[in-house]
């Protein structure tokens, strides 16, 4: 998520609130943080964010770039002045960040796990209360969200209550669900709008295990079966890189034959940041060089009537037939385009690039000027 550094004033513990840029009698002030160009106290607001030096008795922070904040964003302000924009009003890719801890340590993790952290549970519950009622979908992510155990159910129940129509997308490595009781409890607490997306990087245990950094292939599979027993909607996610691209077609067949019940499958271009960047020698393959394997895998799943997508891939490096599977999946705040994109007719539909990936662009990036007529 997007972070801003500010100068804190009287912030003793993390403050959470919705950004408002104008005072009004129609919002609940205690849930709001006022963005202002004044220095003095504003009654009722949980904090202010000002581009002035603020008065000593006021709870708030000083920040120059007020333009980075939009009405209805939700932010947290930590005691050290870090502003986290945990909900962007203009984004379709918002998520509740459950924990930074993880029981995997994937070789290409863009956001390596932390060992210790402050408990975020109450903040998360508040976060959910602040979400707009018309939120179309919300992610639940981490880290590994199931590490907070039954508290995860409280989060889900809270979302169901305050946003009954919102789609809930949980990212989990599935290991915790090998416990059938946990899977059962989970299934009883979610609703029909909930999908659990689980990564499975290979059809071969040793390859998957090397990627996730632990011998958990069989446990993840048990988790998938346990969730399936309780009719939970399951997605499979595959980040593609040099260690697993060769067997994508075999993985596709494996998924179909062993988990024909899955709700969706996504192949994802790797984001070269975090662990991925540290291990880039082992992982980097120009995405255009795995097009053949990817295309075969997509066809296998598509022919079998499964819902399959490609995430994070630039349209110009995919063959025309593959482009319809590509999804605009990169969060707005880390999404960029390059010079070649400016003249490209596909740009409006193109996922573009991770801002972080600028050193690792495919050599196949090019401006598409026209699309050949359908044969």
């Amino acid at each position: 998520m997007k972070q801003l550094k500010s100068n804190p004033n009287n912030i003793d513990e993390t403050v959470i609130g919705k950004i408002v840029k104008q005072t009004s009698m129609f919002h609940s002030k205690k849930n709001c943080i006022l963005v202002t160009d004044e220095a003095k106290k504003q009654n009722g607001y949980s904090a202010i964010i000002s581009n002035k030096i603020i008065d000593t008795n006021v709870i708030g922070v000083e920040l120059d770039e007020l333009g980075e904040l939009n009405n209805n964003d939700i932010v947290t302000i930590d005691a050290d002045g870090i502003i986290n924009i945990i909900h962007e009003a203009n984004s379709k890719h918002n998520a509740i960040f459950i924990t930074g801890r993880c029981n995997s340590n994937c070789i290409m993790c863009p956001q390596p796990p932390v060992k210790e952290e402050a408990d975020r549970h109450d903040l998360n519950l508040k976060h959910i209360s602040l979400l707009p009622k018309d939120t179309i979908s919300i992610g639940i992510t981490g880290g590994e969200p199931t590490l907070i155990g039954n508290k995860l159910f409280e989060i889900i129940v809270h979302i169901k209550k305050s946003l009954p129509k919102t789609y809930i997308n949980i990212l989990s490595n599935g290991i915790r669900f090998e416990n059938i009781e946990y899977a059962r409890n989970f299934a009883q607490n979610i609703n029909q709008n909930t999908v659990v997306d689980i990564p499975l990087y290979s059809d071969v245990d040793t390859i998957h295990n090397e990627i996730v950094g632990s011998k958990t292939f069989n446990r993840t599979i048990k988790g998938i079966y346990n969730l399936a027993k309780f009719n939970v909607k399951i997605g499979i996610r595959i980040v593609v890189h040099k260690m697993n691209y060769k067997r994508l077609p075999q993985l596709a067949e494996y998924i179909y034959f062993n988990f024909p019940f899955v709700y969706q499958i996504a192949f994802m271009q790797m984001e070269p940041i975090g662990n991925a960047l540290d291990n880039i020698e082992k992982l980097w393959i120009d995405p255009i060089d795995y097009n053949e394997e990817l295309e075969n895998a997509i066809k296998i799943l598509h022919y079998r009537d499964l819902h399959v997508s490609i995430y994070n891939s630039q349209l110009c490096i995919l063959s025309e037939k593959m482009r319809k599977f590509a999804v605009k999946s990169i969060s707005e705040w880390k999404n960029i385009y390059v010079d070649d994109c400016e003249e490209c007719i596909l740009k409006p539909d193109c996922p573009g690039f991770f801002a972080s990936s600028k050193d690792y662009h495919s050599r196949g990036i090019k401006s598409i000027k026209e699309i050949q007529a359908c044969v």
Binding site: D203, V204, D205, T206, I207, N218, I221, K222, Y225, R247, Q250, Y254, Y256, F257, N258, P260, K299, H302, Y303, R304, D305, K321
Partner: protein, 477 residues
């Protein structure tokens, strides 16, 4: 690292080795690697090693978890067993107005009313059907020509629907008819019920008329076509399906037969070989043909159909679709002729006009020439338990588990095939049969191997076509 070898079957295929596991997942191994594999000398992390592991033919850790996955898939593949009998065929009359050269049921004279089912028997049949635990009940009216006794069809449908108010099953009806007697009055009545029509078209006019004349006319084709259109008008476009039977006169005419189906607006065809029962067995000297000839024709027909699809015309071959589903999907298929244990009485059953119950359509075909080997009871004399849970049926089923039949048990294509004890008995004198001389084995193995050879090409267009048949809709490229 050492590895454990899990159950598998194999056969040389071209210059490689075809291997399948217990649930039909398969792979090809280079001959060299196969030798290493059986000697436990395969190099870990090699492609062959990984693929064998992915298909669960070898395991080098957590074997109990791998077996658990295999058992889940095994249950899925054998799912048809959990439902019990869903197909219930009723012979409402053995009288017929057709005079087909190959009549497999030895039909009776059109005026001989002794061969009609009476209401008392029909009522008992319906009662028995609704004792089946299956949530899906398909009642199929057979003959003879069932439309010769439309009153009893109406009686059975109404009775079944009445019972179903309480039983709440997925109930549907099929009338297997030559259609020539269908009229608007019948269709108006049928419209209000969930009825499908299964008719017979053997090919273009001349061939159809040669195979399927009427008792009072040399011609039936045009009549059938008119009635197909009339039926569609009342019951909907998808209400009519058709079956073809291959006689010696059909050989070398498969493309014409396929074109006839297309002209009539069908989007699939079942290229069926002659079943050697009834007149077909009696007159085999001029109706039958070596299975090799059928296979040759089948392949040509299938190639012809594939070519249609390559031109963008969606058209399927039903036997290939069934086999491809068995080869490529983890699911079981409802086709009773290709199951193990055989579907006899436990997937499909037939009630004859006199209330006798036979394990399959072929079982009553044998009875019609005097051999009641496959009779398992009578609806008026026996209880449901006696008919469907009797020692005799148990013993028939025990002898029709392909996994335990000589040669089937080690056949690499076993997961795609099934056991047919009635056919074995009819052709070879006992339930077990003798595979090296079995016509049905020759046919199934021939078609399975041909389909596998097409799949082995790994041609994207071909795969797309095959899957469009399996999922029953065209697939965009």
């Amino acid at each position: 690292m050492s590895y454990q070898i899990l159950p598998y079957r194999f056969e040389r295929f071209d210059d490689e080795v075809f291997m399948s596991n217990e649930v039909g997942e398969y792979l090809y191994l280079p001959s060299d690697d196969f030798g290493k594999f059986v000697n436990h000398e395969l190099k870990p992390d090699s492609d062959s090693y990984n693929t064998l592991k992915s298909k669960q033919i070898i395991s080098d850790n957590n074997t109990e978890d791998v077996l658990e996955m295999l058992s889940i898939k095994y249950r899925t593949k054998k799912h048809f067993l959990t439902q019990f009998t869903s197909l219930h065929m009723i012979v409402v009359s053995l009288r017929c107005n057709s005079n087909c050269s190959y009549c497999q049921v030895s039909k009776k004279d059109i005026n001989d009313l002794n061969f009609d089912m009476d209401k008392e028997t029909a009522k008992n049949v319906v009662d028995k059907i609704f004792e089946s635990p299956s949530p899906n009940i398909k009642i199929e009216f057979q003959g003879g020509e069932p439309l010769l006794d439309f009153e009893i069809i109406k009686f059975i449908i109404e009775k079944a629907e009445w019972k179903n108010i309480f039983k709440k099953k997925n109930l549907e009806f099929v009338i297997c008819t030559n259609l020539t007697l269908m009229d608007e009055k019948m269709l108006k009545w049928l419209k209000g019920h969930k009825v499908y029509i299964s008719t017979s078209i053997d090919g273009p006019l001349e061939l159809h008329d040669k195979n399927r004349p009427l008792f009072n006319s040399e011609h039936s084709y045009e009549e059938v076509v008119d009635k197909i259109n009339l039926t569609r008008k009342y019951l909907g476009n998808d209400s009519v399906s058709a079956l073809m039977t291959t006689t010696s006169f059909s050989l070398n005419k498969f493309p014409d037969i396929i074109e006839t189906y297309r002209e009539l607006g069908f989007n699939s065809i079942f290229l069926r070989s002659l079943n050697p029962y009834g007149f077909a067995k009696r007159d085999k000297h001029f109706l039958a043909y070596p299975m090799e000839d059928f296979l040759e024709n089948y392949k040509q027909g299938l190639d012809y159909i594939i070519n249609l699809n390559l031109q963008g015309i969606y058209f399927a071959e039903d036997f290939a679709t069934i086999l491809l589903s068995r080869i490529l999907t983890p699911f079981s298929t409802g086709f009773v002729d290709l199951q193990s244990p055989a579907g006899i009485a436990i997937a499909g059953v037939i009630y004859d006009y006199d209330g006798d119950v036979y394990v399959s359509d072929e079982g009553r075909m044998l009875a019609s020439v005097g051999d009641k080997k496959f009779k398992i009871g009578n609806v008026k004399e026996n209880s449901y338990q006696e008919i469907f849970n009797g020692d005799y049926l148990h013993s028939l089923i025990e002898q029709s588990v392909a996994e335990s039949l000589p040669q089937c048990s080690t056949c690499a294509y076993l997961p795609y095939c099934g056991a047919d004890p009635v056919r074995n008995y009819n052709e070879q004198g006992d339930l077990i049969g003798h595979r090296p001389t079995s016509e049905i084995c020759k046919k199934n193995m021939g078609v399975i191997k041909y389909l596998l050879s097409l799949l082995k090409k790994n041609d994207s267009n071909l795969n797309r076509i095959f899957w469009s048949w399996i999922i029953r809709k065209p697939i965009e490229e």
